[in-house]
């Protein structure tokens, strides 16, 4: 087990796990145009930190509980047509602001919110690894199990209903998966950039994909590359991890866009 004593190894393994889950989920987020939902869940998850101070409960549990509750609320709001971009923006940023202020009141001492906002791979312990891999396993199981139905609902609610597939139910499964991903990604990539991790690899992969499955796999490959290299870069040059990962992702996107532009003049 000494292999896992090195925090660098733990960080890589955690990054690999998050990449595997964020790719297919990110594809669904992109296809369903739900980037703002992902952002709202991520920002408002800071309320979980305040909650853990308030109730003196385990931080990871508090965050996961909050993200799940927020995800279900947003799913239901969306089903009723109340989840416009603006409303989600209000929700996301209010949640973040309230979380920051509440944390500063409740913690007594100044808690390092930056580690939550930007990621903190130094803090990934062995138990965190288990939680992350557990979360990833749950996400992949859910997404793969419901993949075809989720695709159908994405393409058309009406067609789905005509074929006895229930959009609200599938949407809830999707949102719960998103909530779990946000909870497990905070230490790797940070709250502010989780949405970026969700959408940049899929959009990059789009240029080269002709099927949804290939796009998810390719996005997975791109995510793994960005996460591993980004973690390595941030350790070497002592830069914030999340931002380093996303910088690499942006670079990949730039390259893929060049391909796309030269392909369709």
């Amino acid at each position: 087990m000494s292999f896992f004593d090195d925090f660098i190894i733990r960080a890589f393994i955690a990054g690999l796990a998050v990449a595997c889950a964020s790719a297919p989920l990110g594809c669904l987020v992109t296809w369903r145009r739900m980037a703002y939902f992902g952002d709202a869940i991520a920002h408002a998850s800071l309320l979980g930190i305040a909650l853990s101070f308030l109730l003196d409960i385990n931080m990871s549990i508090a965050i996961l509980a909050i993200t799940c509750v927020i995800a279900i609320c947003l799913a239901d709001m969306g089903a009723r047509g109340f989840a416009s971009d603006t409303l989600l923006g209000v929700f996301a940023h209010s949640g973040l602001a309230i979380g920051i202020v509440a944390s500063s009141f409740l913690s007594g001492r100044q808690v390092d919110l930056m580690s939550y906002l930007l990621g903190d791979i130094l803090a990934i312990g062995l138990s965190d690894l288990l939680v992350i891999w557990g979360g990833v396993a749950a996400i992949l199981a859910l997404i793969i199990w419901r993949w075809n139905r989720l695709l159908l609902v994405t393409i058309s609610h009406d067609l789905a209903k005509a074929e006895s597939v229930h959009p609200q139910f599938e949407n809830r499964i999707f949102m719960i998966s998103l909530a779990i991903l946000v909870a497990i990604s905070i230490k790797i990539v940070g709250i502010l950039l989780i949405a970026a991790l969700l959408i940049i690899p899929p959009v990059t992969a789009r240029t080269f994909a002709h099927s949804p499955e290939f796009m998810a796999l390719l996005a997975g490959g791109i995510s793994v590359f960005c996460l591993i290299s980004g973690i390595y870069f941030s350790i070497q040059f002592d830069t914030p991890t999340g931002a380093s990962i996303i910088c690499l992702a942006s670079l990949c996107f730039l390259i893929s866009s060049t391909f796309r532009l030269t392909r369709h003049p």
Binding site: T30, W31, R32, R33, N148, L151, L152, T154, I155, S156, H157, D158, L159, K161, A162, E163, P202, V203, R206, A209, H210, S211, P212, F214, M215
Partner: protein, 255 residues
């Protein structure tokens, strides 16, 4: 909900009773009573905003009525061909993959449907590159996969020219004969209402009139809705249509 009377229970697929639906404080459909039985072809006509799509969606179960009841036969399989479908530009989807999303137990039937709908040449194409008419054929093919008891089509001939429309209707009749399914169609254009329809329903929020195409063509409510020329248009179409079916001994109309 009371089922239809026992003697016809075997043949009635959907029974719509006094159904009304409002949205945004506007009554879209009002006090609709209609029965769909096995094997019949029903065409719904009406002006824009008449609630035709809403009625279709109520029959399928996509929207719930505010009042009234809809009885459906147990385990009714429905094939739905919607009016339009937009695929997000970020979703790469081939026609083959799109068809695979529909369950089909019978591989032979799937292949037959693909061939009959003229989709064989389209299988490797990306859905976003299809023309309106091509996509319509794919949607129809997909709707047929689970051998539906009832095929519901919302303005299926919208992107087609006159000849395309005629061949489409021939295909629809063949399907009804092969599958024994009921066919419920919304048609926006009057002159393409099939003379083969068993029933035409004129809808304008409420049902103005319904009956055989001949009956409806002469009905004052229908004429009031669409104007006097409308009667002539139906006659013209039927006259042309007679040339394509030897068995169809229709009258020739003076025009």
């Amino acid at each position: 909900m009371n089922a239809p009377i026992a003697s016809r229970q075997g043949t009635v697929l959907v029974d719509v009773k006094q159904v009304s639906l409002s949205a945004n404080s506007r009554r879209i459909i009002d006090d609709i009573n209609v029965e769909i039985t096995k094997g019949e072809i029903v065409t719904i006509v009406g002006p824009n905003g008449a609630g035709k799509s809403t009625l279709l969606k109520s029959i399928i179960g996509i929207v719930q009525p505010d009042s009234g009841q809809i009885w459906r036969k147990q385990k009714l399989t429905i094939g739905y061909v919607p009016q339009k479908l937009h695929i997000d530009q970020h979703l790469p989807l081939s026609v083959q993959r799109f068809l695979n999303l529909a369950s089909c137990d019978d591989a032979n039937w799937a292949q037959t449907s693909i061939d009959n709908c003229g989709v064989t040449s389209l299988l490797d194409r990306q859905v976003s590159t299809l023309s309106g008419g091509e996509f319509q054929r794919v949607l129809l093919c997909r709707a047929l996969f689970n051998k539906p008891d009832m095929l519901i089509m919302d303005e299926p001939t919208q992107g087609l020219d006159h000849l395309g429309t005629i061949s489409f209707y021939q295909q629809v009749i063949t399907l009804r004969d092969q599958l024994g399914c009921a066919i419920v169609m919304v048609s926006h254009e009057l002159h393409v209402v099939m003379s083969e329809s068993d029933r035409v329903i004129c809808l304008n929020g409420h049902i103005c009139c319904q009956g055989t195409p001949q009956q409806v063509a002469n009905n004052p409510e229908y004429l009031a809705m669409f104007g006097q020329e409308a009667a002539g248009m139906m006659a013209i179409y039927r006259h042309e249509h007679d040339h394509h079916h030897e068995h169809h001994s229709g009258d020739h109309h003076e025009h």
